[in-house]
Each structure stands twice: as structure tokens, then as C-alpha cells.
């Protein structure tokens, strides 16, 4: 169930990203702030029991995919293959970097 925390953190992440673009009242801005706080909190909680690099890699992947999907599905943002491709490549870079960096932190943890 620990990975459920990561998925839930990513859901709140998508919520606040939508809020940053579309919030227009005190209520929606409060929702955005709550989204930021919850996604942070859940992510921190998840990293206590799961490997940090992997958690962040999964979290960013879900967050970015969720954001792009919701702007297409909910807000009918026009989207072309070149843009999707570039976001995909960027995502590979972020996930790759986080997975590679994780090994290093674990080694350091071993030394300490």
C-alpha cells in the first residue's frame, strides 16, 4: 500500500498544477494550496519507507503524464505529436536522472 501514497501524491500534484493555471477564486486558490501541501506531505511520507530515487521517478512520471492528459481531456488544449514527443523525452531525462542518482545516495548511505 506504500506505493498508493506515491500515486495519491501525484494526484494532488496534478490538482495543484491545474489550480495554478485555472484557479480564479478564494475557494479554488485554497484548493490549490491544499494540493501543494498534501502532495508534499504524501511524498515525504512515501520516501520514509521506499527508495527516494524510485519514488521521485514514479511521482514525476505520473505527475507529468497526469497534467498533460488532464489538459487534453478536461481543457481541450490542442496537442501535437512533436510536443508530446518532446515532453516524453524530457520525462525520460528526469526519470533516468533520478534512477541513476538513487544508486549513488544508497552507496553513500552505506558508507555513513
Amino acid at each position: 500500500m506504500k506505493w498508493g501514497l506515491v500515486v495519491l501524491a501525484a494526484v494532488f500534484e496534478v490538482v495543484w498544477v491545474i489550480g495554478l493555471k485555472h484557479a480564479d477564486s478564494a475557494l479554488t486558490w485554497s484548493g490549490t494550496a491544499i494540493g501543494i501541501i498534501f502532495s508534499f506531505y504524501l511524498l515525504m511520507k512515501a520516501t520514509h519507507s521506499l527508495p527516494v530515487g524510485t519514488v521521485y521517478a514514479v511521482f514525476t512520471g505520473l505527475g507529468t503524464a497526469g497534467t498533460v492528459l488532464s489538459e487534453i481531456v478536461l481543457f481541450h488544449e490542442p496537442v501535437g505529436w512533436p510536443k508530446l514527443l518532446l515532453i516524453g523525452v524530457l520525462l525520460i531525462g528526469v526519470i533516468g536522472l533520478k534512477l541513476v542518482t538513487q544508486d549513488e545516495t544508497e552507496e553513500k548511505g552505506g558508507e555513513a
Partner: protein, 105 residues
Amino acid sequence: MLHWISLLCAGCLEMAGVALMNQYAKEKSVKWVLLIIVGFAASFSLLSYAMETTPMGTAYAVWTGIGTAGGALIGILFYKEQKDAKRIFFIALILCSAVGLKILS
């Protein structure tokens, strides 16, 4: 263009926020907490401003990308973290696709 510059700054401030959180983990002091709050608040404000013209998905992807790539670059440059080919490759991948997204927009 102004929106992209603020997106760039937002990414850098996110990176600074994460660096400050690591600092706080080492030394629990109120000064770090205040800097963390200011850093993230500024980062989110600039991201929100950038989203006025940049589509949500693109802005978010570039913001996370700059935060991650920048964090790794700072680690390599200032904290003598390992600079193996894999890390450099992924950093380059992020920066190239961010530039590509800017050109496309």
C-alpha cells in the same frame, strides 16, 4: 518570452527550495524553514505566471525538468558528486527537450 524567463526562474527556485530542504535536514534552524517557504512560494508564483501563456503540461514538464537537471548540475559542480556519462546524458536530454519545447511554442 517573459513567460519563459519566469518559467526558467521558477525551475531554479524549485531547485533552490530542494537544496534548502537538504540544508534543513542537516541543521534544523528556523532561518532555513523561512527561506524554504519564500523559495517555494516564489517558484509557484512564477510558474503560475508562466502558465498564463504556456500550456499547463509543457510548463509543468519544463519546471520539473529544470529543477531536476539543475539540482544534478549543482551536485556535480559544487558538491563533487559523481559526473558519470549516464547523468550527463540525462541532463542533456532534459535541457535539449526543454529548448525544443520553447522553440515549438
